[in-house]
């Protein structure tokens, strides 16, 4: 490894002569590391809404997040979401619930009819979570069969930041 310092640039190279650090790099940096929990209440069909949950304040410059989430369903076993023993990548959108429904065929899997998703993001100096919950009825020809997505808690550990310009 070598550290090279000139008036214009500082570089670090490894044993393979690959540059591992360069002051021209546009690094992701964060001013805030936010720890918290978001409680999602029970939601039942027919429920089709979006929610923008404002969680914490953060740097106004933050426009990207890096972090992890953990699902707590308080011991209730549900066929939805990631297992509670893990912490999962919080980038992009987390798909929590996915199921089928259909208006002309028998339950359950004629069409994708139920999804709930959660996206962590930074906007205007706040860490937010955008929730979409679309829980259609199952089969109108067999009666409106209600479905319930159980309440759960999303624990999060999020760096709010941006890339160097």
């Amino acid at each position: 490894m070598t550290v090279t310092i000139t008036p214009e640039k500082i570089q670090v190279t490894n044993e393979s002569d690959e540059v591992t650090f360069d002051t021209d790099d546009r690094l992701f940096f964060a001013a805030d590391y936010i720890v918290g929990s978001l409680n999602i209440p029970e939601r039942s069909t027919a429920h089709r809404r979006t929610y923008s949950h404002t969680l914490e304040s953060c740097s106004a410059e933050a426009d990207k997040i890096v972090g992890v989430i953990n699902l707590d369903v308080s011991g209730v076993n549900i066929d939805a979401g990631v297992p509670g023993f893990g912490w999962f990548n919080a980038g992009g959108t987390y798909l929590h619930f996915l199921d089928g429904s259909n208006s002309s065929q028998a339950y359950p899997h004629g069409e994708v009819g139920r999804m709930s998703t959660y996206t962590f993001y930074c906007e205007g100096g706040n860490l937010k979570c955008f929730e979409t919950t679309f829980l259609n009825n199952v089969n109108p020809f067999n009666g409106n069969i209600l479905f319930t997505q159980r309440a759960f808690t999303l624990h999060y550990r999020i760096w709010c930041g941006t890339f160097d310009q």
């Binding site: 490894m1 070598t2 550290v3 310092i5 214009e8 500082i10 670090v12 591992t20 650090f21 002051t23 790099d25 546009r26 690094l27 992701f28 940096f29 964060a30 001013a31 590391y33 069909t45 089709r48 410059e61 426009d63 990207k64 997040i65 890096v66 992890v68 953990n70 979401g81 990631v82 297992p83 893990g86 912490w87 999962f88 990548n89 919080a90 980038g91 992009g92 959108t93 987390y94 798909l95 199921d99 089928g100 259909n102 208006s103 065929q105 359950p108 899997h109 069409e111 994708v112 009819g113 999804m115 998703t117 996206t119 979409t132 679309f134 259609n136 409106n144 550990r157 760096w159 160097d164």
Partner: protein
């Protein structure tokens, strides 16, 4: 304008160190002009220390069924849950590398039935959770893919904003540390690069949007996009899409 190292310790305040251009105002407050800051001890830089390559075979799934399964990809040997990211190499539908950030659809059909994969860590392993439903009369075949995992030395249990310790600024012939170890050139950091130099697309926000038709009984429309790979299920009522779900995700080409 040349670069310079600056470090300061004021009584009653945390020490600061930075690589900056121009006047020292950005040492005391980097937000004065972020364009003159190359590295600053006020900031946090999520770091990665281990890269792992592997492949995974997903089993076939029968028609009209569901699968919820967690695969153990790599025994990380870290005390706690490390932060992990990664990418699917040469994703079969798109041919591009797809970041394993959030939930990623793998090998979906036009009706919206896909395997959704979410990357994480247990106390012992890097794990990948699959959530899949299959359509009436349509099974899913067994499929394989290659992946790369990037594992952080930061864990959920141990990480806070306090620095690991050490000098406010240290430069040796082969290493530079800054901010009492907050930044250490022996580690790797997430950086935005030119398109041709990237490992993958970093995802900074929404990758999946959902809509619905006007009835409460029909199918959903949804669209996944990581900037390069788009997977959509667009339900149509008659000949008209229910909703226009086209969106542009907040992404950046990155390299670790």
């Amino acid at each position: 304008m040349g670069l310079k190292f600056r470090a300061v310790k004021t009584a009653g305040q945390d020490a600061k160190a930075a690589i900056i251009e121009g006047s020292d105002d950005v040492l005391y407050d980097p937000y004065v002009d972020l364009s003159r800051v190359r590295c600053h001890s006020d900031f946090l830089y999520p770091s990665f220390t281990t890269t792992v390559s592997g492949s995974l075979t997903l089993p076939s799934i029968g028609a009209d069924s569901a699968r919820y399964h967690t695969y153990e990809l790599y025994e990380h040997g870290i005390d706690g849950h490390p932060f992990v990211t990664g990418r699917i190499l040469n994703h079969p539908s798109s041919g591009v590398h797809v970041a394993l950030e959030g939930s990623v659809p793998f090998s979906g059909d036009s009706q919206g039935f896909a395997r959704w994969l979410t990357l994480g860590a247990s106390p012992t392993h890097v794990i990948l959770h699959e959530q899949t439903i299959t359509r009436i009369g349509v099974s899913m075949p067994s499929e394989s893919f290659d992946y790369v995992l990037e594992i952080s030395d930061l864990t959920v249990e141990d990480y806070d904003t306090s620095p690991p310790g050490g000098a406010i600024l240290s430069i040796t012939p082969d290493r530079m540390t800054l901010g009492e170890g907050k930044f250490d050139t022996s580690k790797r950091y997430l950086k935005a690069v030119a398109e041709e130099d990237k490992n993958t697309n970093f995802v900074g926000g929404e990758t999946l949007v959902t809509g619905a038709d006007s009835s409460l009984n029909g199918a959903l429309s949804f669209e996944y996009s990581n900037g390069e790979y788009t997977y959509r299920k667009q339900f149509r009522f008659g000949s008209t899409p229910v909703e226009n779900l086209d969106f542009t995700p907040n992404t950046a080409p990155v390299k670790l």
